[in-house]
């Protein structure tokens, strides 16, 4: 390992995964890929916070169910979310009684969980380890922005926090897809202060991590079927490709962004695209991991991106620091 970059001698296998989303995400272009779509944004609960907790719990239970596992079979879970003190994770996972380590990486949490999970697996901490995260439009909106029924106009650069969750079960047994390497991101800040322009704030972090990965490993963009960023959205994606290009790599033909994929900006009024921890988590678990398992995709890079901001620091006039962690994943075809 050097400078946060590690290629795993023994890859870490992914046993199972699940994606659950809310109504709006379920009406978007990716609707056929999700495991569960909840039509009720409250998920039958009485507050938004409880709804998000249930969303994350459902994602974990669905992933376990798909692998015929029970919570007691899991040795360790890494989980995090956007809400103060990561309460969606702690309250949602409270009844499952799985050894728990909370993580925070804003919307980069899915990649952070996969990395910490892989490290724990490599260190022999357990045989079955789960990584999960979630976000909910309404919990994020009331924590970071305005009351839901307040009549504000969203700016054209703003992104729509997804009501979504994803969960991944890592296993000691050999399975595909596999995590073959990762690059831990640095906190990056190019001075964006507009909290309604998260894509622009996060693009430099993703570009930095990706370029470091290419420089260190000697790999080229052409070696990947897809380079998937988390939630840069339409504006952030353009800036990301520009930034990477300026540093000598052309990723435009293989780049995909979960925030761009999850909504149709024309019909769903989502402006620059989706965001939130659950955005990249649900697209990874719903779309990319199944395609890696079937062999339709051979090798991808997943770079979840997080804006490490709080309303307090934004009001104090601080710019928005961001982070992006990279995970290299291979599919079934690479079996050797």
């Amino acid at each position: 390992m050097s400078n946060g970059i590690k290629r795993l001698q023994t890859p870490v296998s992914i046993l199972s995964y699940a994606s659950v989303v809310g109504k709006k995400e379920g009406e978007g272009p990716m609707n056929s890929y999700f495991d569960k779509i909840f039509d009720d944004s409250y998920l039958g609960e009485d507050t938004w916070e409880k709804a998000e907790s249930k969303l994350q719990q459902t994602a974990v239970l669905t992933a376990l169910e798909k692998a015929d596992l029970l919570p007691e079979n899991i040795d360790l879970i890494f989980a995090g979310d956007l809400i103060n003190q990561c309460t969606s994770s702690t309250f949602g996972l409270r009844p499952l009684e799985i050894p728990f380590l909370g993580i925070y990486g804003a919307c980069s949490t899915m990649a952070e969980g996969l990395i910490t999970g892989s490290i724990a697996m490599s260190a022999g901490v357990g045989e079955k380890i789960v990584a999960t995260t979630s976000s909910h439009f309404s919990t994020a909106e009331r924590q970071f922005r305005f009351p839901l029924s307040y009549g504000g106009q969203r700016t054209p650069t703003s992104q729509w926090t997804c009501t979504a969750s994803g969960a991944i079960v890592l296993t000691k047994d050999v399975q595909f897809p596999q995590v073959t390497g990762f690059c831990i991101g640095k906190i990056t800040d190019l001075g964006v202060t507009d909290a309604n322009n998260m894509g622009a704030a996060m693009a430099p972090a993703a570009a930095d991590t990706l370029v470091r990965w290419f420089n260190e490993t000697g790999n080229k963009p052409e070696q990947y079927d897809a380079i998937v960023t988390g939630d840069l959205g339409i504006i952030g994606s353009e800036l990301f490709c520009d930034l990477v290009m300026k540093q000598g790599y052309d990723v435009t033909s293989v780049h995909k962004d979960c925030g761009v994929m999850i909504f149709d900006p024309e019909t769903q009024d989502t402006h620059a695209g989706g965001s939130g921890c659950g955005c990249s988590a649900s697209i990874l678990c719903g779309y990319f991991l199944p395609k890696l398992r079937t062999g339709e995709l051979c090798r991808i890079l997943f770079l979840a991106t997080g804006a490490l901001m709080s309303p307090t620091l934004t009001q104090q006039g601080e710019s928005i620091p961001s982070i992006s962690h990279l995970v290299e994943l291979i599919g079934t075809v690479n079996k050797t």
Binding site: D46, T47, W48, E49, R142, F146, P147, L148, S149, Y150, G151, G152, Q153, R154, T155, P156, T157, L190, G191, V192, N197, A200, P204, I235, E238, L239, D242, L243, K246, Q247, D269, A272
Partner: protein, 145 residues
């Protein structure tokens, strides 16, 4: 090459989408104008019941505020505001929306520290600085009148 903050700022300006002002401004004008027309009709109505101008105007405000709160509760105000922008922000109905949406939103944290404490989250500055400005004016007026 290393991208500096200045260069990145230029890059952002190139890709930043512009607000659709050709649509936003006329919509704000029309919807804001219509809210004022409703206010005018209410004033005329109350004046026809022999209220004086100022009382009629106060009653019109109270009714607009009530209607705005109801629309907020039904989830309709923000649906109109999404298109109207400043057209629903600038009239007194926008002030009422900021109060009732805060009250509604923080209901889940209880009626004292939720609704009670948070009701002024957005409207607070309007009252604080409006009152302060009027007191400053009052001091000047008192001494120079």
């Amino acid at each position: 090459m290393k991208v500096s903050r200045e260069l990145y700022s230029d890059m952002q300006n190139q890709v930043a989408p512009k607000s659709k002002s050709y649509k936003n401004i006329p919509l704000a004008f029309v919807i804001g104008g219509l809210i004022c027309v409703i206010g005018q009709l209410l004033i005329s109505m109350f004046m026809s019941f022999d209220f004086e101008q100022k009382e009629a105007s106060a009653w019109a405000s109270i009714i607009l505020v009530g209607a705005s709160a109801l629309f907020t509760g039904l989830g309709l105000y923000e649906k109109i505001a999404k298109h109207a922008g400043a057209g629903t922000l600038v009239p007194i109905t926008g002030f009422a929306n900021s109060i009732s949406s805060s009250a509604l939103e923080f209901k889940s944290e209880g009626f004292i520290l939720g609704v009670g404490a948070k009701i002024f989250t957005i409207a607070g500055p309007v009252i604080l600085y409006g009152t302060t400005a009027s007191i400053i004016f009052g001091l000047i007026y008192y001494f120079i009148r």
